[in-house]
């Protein structure tokens, strides 16, 4: 072994021990840092759970707190679900009320129709006005676009058209009792309706009415009313319409008959007055 070998060996040992010293120093520093971190954590746990508590005690407290909070949450959720059920029940009830409100208002409209029709029919003893009112009722309150009103003439024993709207000459021709659809309805004395769309289109194509209402006082035929078409916006006959037709069947008949009687009595009264006036005139002395 030479001097150089000895120097190299010295240098190696010196470097080895230096690195060992540094490595040991680093280990000691890390050890100190870890000890500090543990001490810090222990201090935090102690601050949250009470002085002197162990980590297992702190965990138990957290579990208890969690259980309490879950209990409160479940209670609130139960209340929310009950409120939701109550709200749905109220919504269903509101829908029922709304439907009933609509039904009641429709009934009110129906009553208004019947009141107005009855009031108007008996508001006059003039035959032409009664006929006009019948036509107004059927057009405005029922929604008929084409109609005709016939009155029974006891002398000719035919039904003669006294008013019409929108119908042609064929539908206004005098009706013989028992002949044709209108004549047969007049003979039977029962109202006739075509209520389905296809039936109404078929009737219109054939020039036949979709409604035929005999106007009667008891069993005495006064006239007949025919409806040939409804307005485009009218979706078909309703319950109110049938109620109005029933009202017209009786009240229009009475109003027409009364107005004819009144006209007859006025004529007779005028004749009697003229005769009395003649009797009052003293003959001139010769």
């Amino acid at each position: 072994m030479t001097a150089d070998d000895g120097d190299r060996r010295e240098e190696f040992l010196s470097r080895f021990f230096e690195e060992g010293k540094n490595f040991t120093k680093r280990l000691l520093e890390e050890n100190a840092a870890l000890r500090e971190a543990i001490a810090r954590l222990q201090a935090e746990v102690a601050a949250g759970s009470g002085v002197g508590e162990t980590p297992s005690d702190a965990g138990e407290k957290l579990r208890e707190r969690y259980t309490r909070l879950m209990g409160v949450y479940n209670e609130l959720r139960g209340k929310y679900e009950k409120l939701e059920r109550d709200l749905n029940a109220i919504k269903t009830e509101n829908v029922d009320f709304a439907q009933k409100y609509v039904e009641i208002e429709d009934q009110n409209t129906a009553l208004a129709n019947l009141y107005v029709a009855s009031f108007q029919l008996h508001s006059t003893l003039n035959f032409a006005e009664v006929v006009r009112i019948v036509v107004e009722i059927v057009i405005n309150l029922i929604g008929a676009e084409q109609l005709a009103v016939f009155v029974f003439d006891e002398e000719t024993e035919r039904l003669s058209c006294v008013a019409y709207e929108g119908v042609g000459e064929e539908q206004r021709r005098p009706v013989v009792i028992g002949e044709g659809l209108t004549g047969k309805v007049a003979a039977l004395g029962e109202s006739y309706y075509v209520t389905d769309d296809a039936g109404q289109r078929d009737a219109e194509a054939k020039g036949q009415p979709i409604a035929c209402i005999p106007l009667k006082i008891k069993d005495r035929l006064i006239g007949i009313m025919t409806v040939h078409r409804l307005f485009r916006q009218k979706e078909g006959f309703t319950t109110v319409d049938f109620q109005l037709f029933d009202l017209l069947a009786g009240h229009a008949a009475t109003a027409l008959y009364s107005s004819k009687l009144y006209a007859l009595s006025e004529r007779k009264l005028a004749t009697a007055r003229s005769f009395l006036d003649l009797l009052k005139i003293k003959p001139a002395r010769p």
Partner: protein, 127 residues
């Protein structure tokens, strides 16, 4: 806090319809004025200053379309809502309604709820 009655001008040459409208609208805090033709309607609109006009179209002397044009052309009346009441729902009739300047339309036979809905939509707020 009370609510003032709204005044509605009912225009129709048919007594039946005037009576029907008054009957179904009674009890809803309205008061009524009536007119039987377009000329009377214009005069009533100027004298009564209604809050809303229900206007029939087929009338003698002056029809509803002409009356509506006059009312809507009057600076003092043009803000008054006009609801046309008609039996005809065809497109050409609707064109005439729009051309006359009407604000809304309702078809006969009239349903109360539909009429009330339209009236309340067009009436100004009543304090």
């Amino acid at each position: 806090m009370g609510s003032a009655k709204a005044k509605i001008l009912l225009v129709d040459d048919t007594e039946t319809i005037l009576l029907f409208l008054k009957t179904i609208l009674t009890g809803h805090r309205f008061e009524f004025a009536t007119a039987r033709n377009g000329v009377e309607a214009i005069a009533a609109a100027r004298s009564e200053r209604p809050d809303l006009i229900l206007l029939d179209v087929i009338m003698p002397v002056m029809d509803g379309f002409e009356a509506c044009r006059v009312i809507k052309g009057d600076p003092e009346l043009k803000a008054t809502p006009v609801i046309v009441v008609t039996t005809r729902s065809e497109a050409e009739n609707m064109d005439r309604v729009r051309a006359a300047g009407a604000d809304d339309v309702i078809f006969k036979p009239i349903r109360k709820l539909e009429l009330l809905d339209k009236i309340n939509r067009w009436l100004p707020r009543r304090d």
